[in-house]
């Protein structure tokens, strides 16, 4: 019974959201408000039980024989300071935990991006350009041309992002090739995004026709 109610509710909510395609209307706004309320409540509960209960509470008051980690109290104290943002008089104190989050994220991301995005990408680009078949020792032209294209794309793209030198002459021409590669990248990404949205749309239509109306098997 609860599944039947659930399917009907999901179908009506789906149609309610799709009604926006005609024009902005009260039914869409109600569905949108339901989404806002439910998602805020959903994530508040998920973070409460996953982090505040399992990380903090079980850390300070362990249920097994492990040592309690009293340092976690300071994290909870910082979290409490964050909630003071709701007060207009002492809301400025919330800058302290915010400063901690911003600083820690900056320090963490600085190293993560340095390693994974900068160094790893550079090292993976510096591969053997000429691809050889290990069995026949013959050059694999398809992969070789592909490797050259990747190397040219990376170098010219980086030249385009280098704004400390005026884009003139050979430098400017290389930057122009970089723009071509970036345009192909944006186009391909756009196409990929459209198709992922399309698959979501197909999923919703499939739900309506299969699970709700039972018109498709």
């Amino acid at each position: 019974m609860s599944e039947l109610i659930g399917v009907w509710l999901a179908a009506l909510l789906t149609l309610g959201i799709f009604s926006f395609l005609y024009k902005d209307n009260p039914i869409y706004k109600i569905c949108e408000s339901i989404f806002v309320g439910v998602s805020a409540g959903y994530w508040a509960i998920v973070f409460f039980f996953d982090n505040i209960i399992k990380k903090f509470w079980y850390g300070v008051f362990p249920t097994d024989n492990s040592e309690p980690n009293y340092l976690l109290w300071f994290g909870a104290f910082l979290g409490f300071l964050m909630l003071l943002r709701l007060s207009s008089k002492i809301g400025w104190i919330a800058r302290w935990p915010l400063a901690f989050i911003v600083g820690a994220t900056a320090g963490l991301y600085m190293m993560i991006y340095f390693v994974s995005n900068a160094m790893l990408q550079i090292s993976s680009t510096m591969r053997n350009v000429v691809a050889v078949n290990p069995e026949t020792s013959a050059i694999v032209w398809g992969e070789t041309i592909g490797s050259v294209i990747i190397a040219v794309g990376v170098l010219s793209g980086l030249v385009y992002f280098f704004f400390s030198k005026e884009h003139k002459g050979v430098f400017g021409q290389t930057a122009k090739v970089g723009i071509w590669f970036l345009m192909i990248t944006f186009g391909a990404h756009f196409g990929y995004t459209v198709m992922s949205r399309m698959s979501l749309l197909i999923g919703r239509v499939d739900f309506l026709f299969t699970d709700w109306l039972h018109l498709l098997k």
């Binding site: 339901i34 994290g75 964050m82 320090g107 294209i149 794309g153």
Partner: protein, 226 residues
């Protein structure tokens, strides 16, 4: 006082994480672990701050009798109902032996997720397909060479992801090879990789310089400064 202390906290937290990468020993290695736990806890409180602020703003709308107070009422009802269901399932699950997760299939909270949250979120994103299609119809004009490259790449990737474009070639017996799909795969494997790698290296350098500015206190917008 209101700006100096947050700047000091920012610098210390940032330096600990940066140094612990090079010196993963006492005290930096341990500090990184402790700071990581604190971040997780503070993030959870930040989510709650958002939820409570949503309640506050919605109540204010109703109190001031704004024209959209009906929708504010719906938000409050759904938020409070989800919280009650979540707390009920969460705490009753914790008291059971062995513990049952509040997200386990069959719980009320899982019902809310499956039949309310998932349909709403996926339909919201599915609607973007229509908006992206209409936006691209207006924006996609082959005005110059660069725009044409973008158009061609998008066209082949979209066409190559579905069998529709290969179907005429295969059905009419013109070719046994799905050229559209293969060309889309080639674009994704080589030119896209080249461009993406350049963008990722650029992003990494940008984040590193921004992070350094934050840690050194040059960037102060998060503490209310310019």
């Amino acid at each position: 006082m209101r700006r100096e202390i947050p700047l000091l906290i920012t610098s210390i937290a940032g330096l600990v994480f940066a140094i612990s990468y090079f010196i993963p020993h006492w005290p930096f290695g341990e500090s990184e672990s402790i700071f990581g736990d604190w971040i997780t806890i503070v993030q959870s409180f930040a989510i709650w701050l958002g939820a409570l602020n949503l309640l506050k703003v919605s109540f204010e709308k109703i109190y001031r009798k704004r024209k959209d107070s009906l929708y504010a009422g719906v938000i409050i009802f759904c938020l409070v109902a989800t919280l009650i269901i979540g707390f009920y399932d969460g705490f009753s699950g914790l008291m059971q032996e062995p513990e049952v997760s509040f997200r386990a299939p069959g719980t009320h909270f899982d019902w809310v997720f499956v039949y309310i949250y998932t349909p709403l979120s996926s339909t919201m994103f599915a609607m973007l397909a229509f908006f992206v299609a209409s936006a691209s119809y207006r924006a996609f004009r082959a005005r110059n060479f660069e725009a044409t490259l973008l158009l061609i790449a998008a066209f082949f990737v979209m066409g190559g992801r579905v069998p529709l474009f290969d179907l005429p070639l295969l059905k009419l017996g013109i070719s046994d090879v799905p050229y559209f799909s293969l060309f889309a795969d080639w674009i994704m494997s080589y030119p896209l990789t080249g461009g993406m790698t350049a963008i990722m290296i650029g992003i990494a350098l940008g984040i590193m310089s921004s992070s350094l500015r934050i840690i050194l206190g040059i960037e102060r917008s998060h503490v209310g400064g310019a």
